[in-house]
Symmetry: C2
Subunit: 208 residues, 2 copies
Amino acid sequence: MARRTGRRPGNPDTREAILTAARQVFGERGFDQASVRAIAAAAGVDPALVHHYFGTKDNLFLAAMDAPADPGELLPQAFAGGPEEVGERLVRLVLGVWDSPAGVAALALLRSALTNDWTARLMREFVTTQIIRRVLGQLDLDQAELPVRSALVASQMAGLLVVRYILRLAPLSTMAADEVAAAVGPTIQRYLTGPLTAAAGAAETTSG
Amino acid sequence: MARRTGRRPGNPDTREAILTAARQVFGERGFDQASVRAIAAAAGVDPALVHHYFGTKDNLFLAAMDAPADPGELLPQAFAGGPEEVGERLVRLVLGVWDSPAGVAALALLRSALTNDWTARLMREFVTTQIIRRVLGQLDLDQAELPVRSALVASQMAGLLVVRYILRLAPLSTMAADEVAAAVGPTIQRYLTGPLTAAAGAAETTSG
């Protein structure tokens, strides 16, 4: 859910028209290429009104996705203690949202992305631009490797969510978040900052 | 698809009744507790007829799941070269099936498991008893750790399939199977045979 901004809610039809247009344009062009101007045009309103209702493009995207949490607010927690255990802290952070009451909305969103190509496209944009890009931006990494690292992180996170919350495979479905984070964290850590193959890892160990 | 056994196909209504009963009983009791006798009773036929049509309980399960490949046939390939790179070979094997024409059926099955609790239950039984148990049975592991290792392997495999074939997140969706296996293999390998937490890994390195 997007945060309340303290502004009056305005015309609900206009808000809804902007959100519908935003889903359309974000899905078609991707987050980076979708301009507030284009979304306003698709909704038939003035761009200033979009800013008035939703603030930044990031916030508009959160509202359009009906996102259960704001990664921009949460992610700094994962980096508070330095880059060494970011993987483990990220898993704990994600499970914290999913184990909370907001998890119901998150699960609905994931299920929808798994069955609907349009939601899948929006979800892909959301995960890539709102979560993983921010994470990778905090780490000192080879730019050329970012897409593959990003997709690998997404693969383990998506699988963890599917197995814990949809397939409900024990004991991953019942273990405490901290235990899961301890087991899965090193995988996320390697995908973020480690060698991308066993061969590369062996070479690094030999030379280091 | 279950293999053709060379037997005559028999009465298609009887076959279908047995398969429906099998899905019911496997889903309700799990693979281990589901007896051929109980399935035959649920279908209203003699147990001998179930054996006649489907052979073993494993084969009946494959047919009931409409499984696109027989793990019992494929998995020995992953162990042909010793236990060191089983993780990588398993990823290559799974992607081999999913990148083949059989992948269409596999994807339909996964999508169904993600949206339907009953199929999810059958899928969980299938993955656990037909794939992961066989894999773990080949490795010399602490019995108490098998469930968590099994669920961790499932989490990375499920996530890889979701990201590559459903969400189609580049570059994981377009990379060659060998490249994906090189990157994801070490994760599966650690979940199978490695230390289950970073702390345990560090202790092992120190003492080793």
